[in-house]
């Protein structure tokens, strides 16, 4: 489904991502973990086209998408959410999701129709599924933080992606919100048959839903495998216990 | 084309360049560090010119007192700049560029009319310092001593400010601020005071430049709007925020304009704007600047 081969990126001599490869099967849920500064965000930005890798390839469902601009990669079926919430703050919640639908369905070049009623049912159904139907007409920027994160997921889902990249989907959330978001993610991934790739600092979350874990450390891939295997990997334990103990 | 003609154009180009450098250096400092594009910089320059005229008229109606007047212009405009920054501009940091642009444009309107109200619309002229009257015969043309003075003073100020920026700790902090305002706050530096100081210094340069130009051109309403676009061109060519870039930008501008008149008299005006556009297209950070981020 998503094939990452030998990605490398340097910033002014500093190697942020160093020869990282990762293969993700369809409908697999994969977590990328690592201490702060391990290169997780850069890794994501390389995959989604926000940064161009120095070397390496990203193959999405048989298409080589390396170095394509983000909008092209998005249209090929990759959705993403960002570490810092990334919504359209001055639009209403409904309009946020609707914008995603309009863009995905190629109506953006329509100059003449009225957009207000377009795909309204679909947008509302989508809001229903992420639990935001009650606040459909609220200006998105005024939502509580957790709800903004949920909305961001909604926007990403509007482009009907097959692969979803989530950068710290529960960052800054309370324990309750985290639990809710994770259940939501699991349910949606199940319903839509999504392939998920996410970064996360909360190990409880990671070990709860990930089917495979890749550990980054100082730009390199330290380990990769099923949770049970990674958990006992001595190198991972050294890095992590050294960090958190 | 004779040698004397080329020399004459060279001298006039250099004089223009160094004037613009004096003006644009302040504009560039403020943009480079505060990320504010100050349309009112030209107005500060105009106010400086009027103050110079006023002081000369008070002290020595028959001429003289030029140096005192120049200093008074610099200081007067510096105070004006400080007041503007403390009372108003600081509230707009972190806002959209549009609001900052329009704020400084509001100052252009207000200062322009205030100057008209106080000094009228007549052309006023100021006599240069007697020490620098006369000129140097060089390559078949005459280079007035005053122009020569400007050509020397321009680079002198450049080196002075350049050294201050690169050596002093305040200068280092200011450069850090250009890259990341928050980072600077985290370092514990008093960003607010630093910005005020920056704006005051920039205003001082504008006021001084306004005073120094009075022996060459007469003081009239509208000189503010005319000069600010030229200063924009200079800082864009050199690189917004790059001090040495501004110096070379001014050189390129001054020489393009003076020699452009020889080659395409109709289009020398056009050529400098085209130069600005080309630079923005090819290297938005300027010929001598570095891309930020």
């Amino acid at each position: 489904m998503l094939e990452i081969q030998g990605l490398r990126k340097t910033f002014a001599g500093f190697v942020a991502v160093n020869d990282v490869s990762l293969t993700i099967e369809a409908r697999q849920i994969v977590a990328v973990i690592g201490p702060n500064g391990a290169g997780k965000s850069t890794f994501f930005n390389l995959i989604t086209g926000h940064l161009r890798p120095d070397t390496g390839r990203v193959v999405l469902d048989g298409h080589d998408v390396t170095g394509l601009p983000p909008h092209r990669i998005c249209r090929l079926g990759m959705g993403r959410s960002f570490q810092l919430t990334n919504i359209f703050p001055r639009l209403t919640v409904l309009q946020n999701v609707q914008a995603g639908l309009l863009a995905h369905r190629g109506r953006g070049r329509d100059f003449w129709s009225r957009s207000e009623t377009m795909f309204r049912d679909d947008a509302e159904a989508l809001l229903q599924s992420i639990g935001l139907a009650a606040v459909a007409d609220v200006i998105a920027g005024t939502l509580a933080y957790g709800n903004q994160k949920q909305l961001e997921l909604g926007i990403a889902l509007a482009s009907d992606p097959r692969v979803l990249l989530l950068d710290e989907p529960t960052a800054g959330m309370s324990a309750g919100e985290t639990h809710e978001t994770i259940s939501l993610l699991q349910r949606i991934a199940e319903e839509r048959g999504l392939t998920l790739l996410f970064t996360e600092h909360d190990m409880a979350v990671v070990f709860r839903i990930a089917q495979k874990i890749a550990v980054l450390y100082q730009g390199r891939k330290l380990a990769e495998g099923p949770p049970a295997e990674v958990r006992v990997n001595p190198e991972v334990r050294r890095v992590y216990l050294g960090e958190h103990a | 084309m004779t040698v004397s003609l080329i020399a004459a154009q060279l001298f006039s180009g250099l004089t223009t360049a160094m004037f613009l450098f004096l003006i644009a250096s302040g504009l560039s400092l403020v943009f480079g560090i505060m990320r504010v594009l100050n349309f009112a910089h030209g107005s500060f320059y105009m106010v400086g010119a009027y103050i110079a005229w006023q002081v000369v008229t008070w002290l020595h109606p028959t001429g003289g007192a030029f140096w005192i007047a120049a200093l008074a212009s610099g200081v007067g405009v510096a105070i004006l700049g400080g007041v503007v920054e403390r009372l108003l501009l600081r509230h707009l940091y972190g806002q959209e560029e549009l609001y900052q642009l329009l704020f400084t444009y509001a100052l252009v309107l207000i200062l322009g009319d205030t100057a008209k109200f106080i000094w009228g619309t007549d052309q006023l002229s100021v006599q240069g310092p007697p020490v620098l009257s006369g000129g140097l015969h060089l390559l078949g043309t005459i280079l007035p001593y005053y122009n020569l003075f400007i050509i020397v003073v321009g680079p002198a100020i450049a080196i002075g400010v350049g050294l201050m920026l690169s050596r002093s700790s305040a200068g280092r902090l200011l450069r850090a601020a250009a890259y990341d305002r928050e980072m600077l706050g985290a370092l514990g530096a008093n960003v607010g005071l630093l910005y005020t100081g920056m704006f005051v210094a920039s205003s001082f340069l504008a006021g001084l430049a306004g005073a120094l130009i009075t022996p060459i051109v007469s003081v009239v309403p509208g000189m503010d709007v005319e000069v600010i676009v030229q200063a924009f061109i200079v800082v864009v060519i050199g690189g917004l925020g790059s001090f040495w870039g501004t110096f070379w930008g001014a050189m390129i501008y001054g020489l393009t304009l003076s020699f452009g008149i020889l080659v395409f008299p109709e289009f020398s005006l056009f050529s400098v704007y085209a130069l600005m556009a080309v630079v923005l297209i090819v290297r938005p950070w300027g010929l001598f600047g570095r891309p930020i981020r």
């Binding site: 983000p70 909008h71 998005c74 249209r75 959705g79 993403r80 990334n86 359209f88 001055r90 639009l91 309009q95 914008a99 309009l102 863009a103 995905h104 953006g108 070049r109 003449w112 129709s113 009225r114 957009s115 207000e116 009623t117 377009m118 509302e124 139907a133 009650a134 606040v135 007409d137 609220v138 005024t142 926007i155 990403a156 | 943009f31 594009l37 509230h91 560029e97 549009l98 642009l101 329009l102 704020f103 444009y105 509001a106 309107l109 207000i110 009319d113 109200f117 709007v225 676009v229 924009f232 061109i233 917004l240 109709e266 289009f267 005006l269 056009f270 704007y273 556009a277 923005l280 297209i281």
Partner: protein, 339 residues
């Protein structure tokens, strides 16, 4: 944060206030002025009408897409010069010169915009300014075509004889007829801009305004959209410029000089960039105040500058933003009393 109590299904699909055909209403309200208005009021409203189109076209960039163009006057100027030159120098009829002005301006916007949308923020603003000054320099110096600093004087009125066939118009003066013509053309143009704003394309523009990065990641080619709206806005600015040149019976380099870009920005922000009709309200207030104040004092720029300061610090949402805020406060008070 308050949760709306109404069920989403009970909401009307389009709020009532947005279903009102405002353009038509305003047109019907203003048209009778041609018959009952004084020479002065017709003059004033003609200018407001034309400026309103100019300011609304700018707001497609400023308020809708979040692009700070400091050179919108370039396209206004291109439209004015194209129409003026065609009508005065070549004797072309208005029916051809007017659309040609729009197309010419749109073409200029396409060429310049291609480069501008590659930049963001202050660099975008600077490049738009540079291009508008290039146009100004050309108009100022190209004597053979643009008349140089003298401009093009005596641009003729369009042929408005044909209007005699419309009942009620035969008695009207040329000024009143031009007013009706301009009002009609501007109304149609504004209606079209309104449609574009409400269209899916317009929704994409607001998404780009709110968040460029996210917009790219719902699959939008952000630069292409920005270029498209730059061209559209330029074209409509050109149409308003063409009308303005005829209205003032001449086209001069000052029409392309950068302070006019600032002026139209002030109109937009004065009325309220966040509202479709905001810039039109701004044009109304600005032109009317200008006329009133210049009767008393020559220091109009001072008044304008002071007004701008007050706006920036006290009323950043503009006149309409202030009114909307007031309405919201009132409604909340009323609501509390009801409850």
């Amino acid at each position: 944060m308050s949760m709306p109590i109404t069920n989403s299904l009970a909401r009307p699909a389009v709020p009532a206030i947005r279903r009102v055909p405002w353009t038509l209403l305003i047109f019907l309200l203003l048209a009778p002025l041609a018959w009952i208005g004084s020479r002065y009021s017709i003059f004033l409203v003609t200018e407001i009408t034309i400026d309103a189109l100019f300011a609304i076209s700018l707001n497609l960039l400023l308020g809708t897409t979040g692009l700070v163009s400091f050179g919108h006057v370039a396209y206004f100027g291109v439209g004015a010069y194209v129409c003026g030159i065609l009508m005065k120098t070549y004797g072309v009829s208005f029916a051809i010169a007017f659309p040609a002005a729009g197309l010419g301006a749109a073409l200029a916007a396409l060429v310049f915009g291609y480069f501008c949308v590659r930049l963001t923020k202050i660099y975008f603003a600077m490049l738009t300014l540079a291009f508008s000054q290039i146009i100004w320099a050309i108009c100022f110096k190209w004597n053979a075509v643009t008349g140089g600093d003298q401009g093009i004087a005596d641009v003729p009125f369009p042929d408005m004889q044909w209007m005699d066939s419309i009942p009620g118009i035969s008695g009207l003066s040329a000024n009143a007829r031009f007013y009706l013509l301009a009002l009609t053309l501007v109304a149609v143009a504004i209606a079209v801009i309104g449609m574009i704003t409400r269209s899916p394309f317009g929704r994409m523009l607001t998404a780009i305004r709110d968040n460029r990065e996210r917009a790219a990641f719902i699959g939008l080619n952000v630069r292409a959209y920005e270029l498209a709206v730059f061209v559209v806005a330029g074209g409509f600015a050109g149409l308003s410029g063409a009308l303005y040149g005829i209205f003032t019976r001449g086209v001069f380099p000052d029409y392309v000089f950068w302070p006019k870009s600032a002026e139209v920005m002030i109109m937009a922000i004065l009325g309220g960039m966040g509202f479709f009709w905001g810039p039109a309200v701004g044009a109304l207030v600005l032109v009317w105040l200008n006329q009133e104040i210049t009767n008393y004092t020559e220091y109009w720029p001072f008044v304008l500058g002071t007004m701008l300061l007050v706006l920036l610090f006290a009323l950043p949402g503009g006149v309409l933003g202030g009114l909307a805020g007031l309405y919201g406060t009132l409604r909340r008070r009323m609501g509390r009393r009801d409850a």
